[in-house]
């Protein structure tokens, strides 16, 4: 029996950590002519668009499941002081997620957040620190 072997993702140029899988649509929204090769450039583009405050901590938002598919990116470097603020940046940068991602004050019960892969919280007011990787996933983990 012959099995096809899909091209391994390791054959593709490795993206910068924290800037993975930006779709063409999102790139266009951030500025087609804007360099977006590094997390810092991505954050600068969001600041220029008025979507986030450059004085806030510099973090990376990691997306999974439906959010990833709708947002058009695997992760989004941005500035945010809290989890809720980070999600609001995502909602405005990627309007297609709005159907899946209610405003922060309506998030109760639907999503969970892990900071750096260890602690888990359901609190959108949880504070972020520069360097944090915020993992957003569905609260429905039954399978």
């Amino acid at each position: 029996m012959t099995m096809s072997h899909p091209q391994s993702r390791s054959d593709e140029p490795r993206p910068q950590p924290g800037l993975e899988g930006l779709s063409a649509e999102l790139r266009a929204r951030l500025g087609a002519e804007t360099p977006l090769e590094t997390p810092e450039q991505c954050r600068a583009a969001l600041v220029r668009l008025g979507l986030c405050d450059g004085a806030r901590p510099a973090v990376i938002l990691e997306l999974y499941g439906g959010l990833r598919l709708k947002a058009g990116c695997r992760s989004l470097p941005l500035h945010a002081a809290t989890i809720g603020e980070a999600l609001q940046v995502l909602r405005t940068a990627c309007p297609k997620v709005q159907r899946l991602l209610p405003p922060p004050h309506e998030l109760e019960g639907h999503y969970r957040f892990s900071l750096n892969g260890r602690a888990v919280t359901a609190d959108p007011d949880h504070a972020l620190q520069t360097g944090d990787r915020l993992i957003v996933f569905s609260a429905s983990v039954g399978g």
Binding site: M3, G65, G66, H110, R112, V120, G142, G143
Partner: protein, 604 residues
């Protein structure tokens, strides 16, 4: 009471005789239907310490009040028996049309005993039970057998069938209906032990609701809520959406639970599939959510995408080729084998081979071709497949040499795709579960990932919340509603009580349903006690515990990707608290009320 028929059928497959046995309303009031009813019937119809594959061993198909109401996700039945894998209670769920047609045949449950002389199919419809010899169906997979039955006797039959594994009494053989499975614990072997290849049901005997307009309103409301954010994951990516995030937070079981993470996980992810491939959505009958996702291959053939299948035949075995994993999943479905137990046993054997404790050709971590080669041999108990068909517990007992410490099962049921090292409340839930390592009956991962507890620790304070999740799961399995609709409900007890009140015409309250959840767990405990359960079974293999420290001090954090160990003292204390809060003895035993025992002894 409206909404139920008020009797069950006691069927002897050997003679084809069926007896209609009255079912008091009090049983439905106390235990609802589904798992609760099925466990009660199993207790009533069986004795102590019996062989689950003997002619006298009952196999119970239990329907439920909400079945047939078209309430979203209500088309399910419970399949309850003693497991040949665990020798303990096996309460499985089976989705879709069989449940509706089964209840439509005019009974609240079917209790099947006996053995046919030749391989046969059992047909049940209003007023008629027939056993027809169908030896030509042997060797077919379940879906093929169902298609033949429908072509021969009518498309209006809903059929549940076994594959080759059930014919060979593999203790983790499944029952299959419409591509869905009563998958765990060997229900397929139990049906096969009766030389029944299939059970076919049909009928339209409906139980009219007491308050149709209220039930209609509840139906519309649940339908609307089922399309909201509470079910988004299931509607979008299905359960496979778990894999990549589990890997990210270190709870994706990898290489026989030796790790919780691997850099290659992306290759098996739902995200990767949905981004680049064609995926179809399918639904069970009476379901708006449509969690079922099917990958459409280049040849047009489809393969179900389920998290448990992909973890058990992929990451657990160190196999990261998507096509191989999906093919293995499809083969397990065709052969009629539980993917979790198949993968779990193979993973255990692969580690034994790696450690030099066992010699088995083609059984190695990362060997996709070896896996695909051995799967049919497991189903037929041939060559090296005969050893793997034992299951990990029996295989570990045979190998010895300390291998029991890394045979990842509880009571013989292999662990599902949630690493207990990073979900320690679930670790406790798996250990104390009546069925063995069943994440669905526990649901404690919800607590571990709630943000309200430390998922890398265990304490007595969280036990109450853990019990609450178990009780809610039992109520959902007994109403019946699918657990994937859980987050669309405001309150399992309150919403369930409203539905039952509108349907039955009798007043049910939240307290009634909460009490039902507790009572159902007591029944499960009673059955296991009768089959010889001992407290030492309520534990995890030693692999999952933190090694004893050498002279105190804080334990060293594990390396990245390696899971945390559970503190054995904290585990023991939490388990003791669990028994106490369940109202059981220090040794975890339940003393039933004499009135209940009298009810169970009454002849029908």
């Amino acid at each position: 009471m409206r909404g139920v028929h008020g009797h069950y059928l006691r069927i002897d497959a050997g003679s084809g005789r069926a007896e209609r046995v009255p079912l008091p309303d009090a049983v439905h009031r106390r235990y609802l239907g589904g798992i609760g009813l099925g466990t009660w019937l199993l207790l009533r119809e069986s004795g102590e310490g019996y062989d689950p594959l003997s002619p006298g061993a009952p196999l119970v198909f239990a329907f439920a009040p909400l079945v047939g109401t078209a309430l979203n996700t209500s088309a399910k039945a419970a399949v309850v028996s003693k497991s040949p894998l665990t020798e303990r209670l096996n309460d499985a769920m089976l989705s879709s049309g069989f449940a509706v047609s089964g209840k439509g045949s005019g009974a609240d449950a079917l209790v099947i005993t006996g053995t046919c002389e030749r391989w046969s199919t059992l047909f049940v419809e209003p007023g008629s039970v027939t056993v027809r010899e169908t030896p030509d169906l042997c060797g077919l997979d379940a879906s093929q057998a169902a298609a033949v039955i429908q072509a021969r006797w009518g498309e209006d039959w809903d059929v549940v069938a076994i594959g080759v594994a059930g014919e060979h009494a593999v203790p983790f053989a499944t029952l299959t209906h419409d591509g869905r499975h009563a998958g765990r614990g060997g229900t397929g072997a139990v049906l096969g032990s009766k030389r029944l290849k299939a059970v076919a049901v049909r009928g339209a005997e409906r139980c009219s609701p007491a308050d149709a307009s209220s039930l209609d309103a509840l139906r519309r409301d649940l339908k609307q809520r089922s399309l909201g954010p509470g079910t988004e994951k299931y509607r979008t990516t299905g359960t496979l959406g778990n894999l990549l995030v589990f890997n990210r937070i270190g709870i994706l079981p990898t290489q026989n639970f030796s790790r919780g993470q691997d850099a290659r996980a992306e290759s098996l992810s739902a995200e990767g599939l949905f981004e680049g491939e064609r995926v179809e959505r399918a639904t069970c009958r009476d379901c708006m959510i449509g969690c079922e996702k099917r990958y459409v291959g280049p040849d047009g053939g489809t393969t179900r995408l389920e998290y448990e299948n992909v973890f058990a035949l992929g990451s657990l075995l160190g196999i990261w080729n998507r096509d191989t994993v999906l093919r293995a999943s499809q083969m397990c479905d065709e052969l009629g084998m539980d993917t979790i137990s198949t993968g779990g046993t193979y993973a255990f054997a692969a580690e034994c081979v790696e450690r030099g404790l066992l010699e088995l050709p083609g059984v190695r971590f990362g060997d996709g071709e070896g896996l695909l080669t051995v799967l049919p041999k497991i189903a037929r108990r041939e060559d090296e497949g005969a050893l793997l068909a034992l299951g990990s517990r029996a295989l570990a007992r045979r190998i010895g040499q300390g291998s029991e410490g890394f045979a990842a099962h509880v009571k013989g049921l292999e662990l599902p795709g949630y690493h207990p090292g990073g979900l320690q409340t679930l670790g406790l839930g798996l250990a104390v579960g009546a069925r063995g390592a069943d994440h669905n009956k526990s649901g404690a991962y919800d607590l571990d990932l709630s943000g309200s507890v430390n998922r890398f620790g265990l304490d007595a304070k969280r036990v109450a919340a853990m019990i609450e999740l178990e009780n809610q799961a039992a109520v959902l399995d007994s109403l019946i509603l699918c657990k994937f609709v859980r987050r669309a409900l405001t309150d399992v007890y309150g919403d369930g009580a409203q539905m039952l009140t509108a349907l039955t015409g009798e007043t049910f309250t939240s307290d009634d349903l909460r009490a039902a959840g507790e009572a159902i767990h007591d029944l499960k405990k009673l059955f296991n006690q009768r089959q010889g359960w001992q407290a030492k079974e309520d534990t995890l293999p030693s692999r999952f515990y933190r090694a004893a420290s050498n002279g105190g001090g804080a334990h060293a954090a594990p390396a990245e990707g390696e899971p945390e160990g559970i503190d054995p003292q904290a585990f023991s204390a939490a388990r003791a608290e669990y028994y106490r809060q369940r109202g059981w003895s220090l040794e975890g035993r339940w003393q039933p009320d004499p009135d209940l025992l009298a009810t169970l002894r009454q002849a029908g």
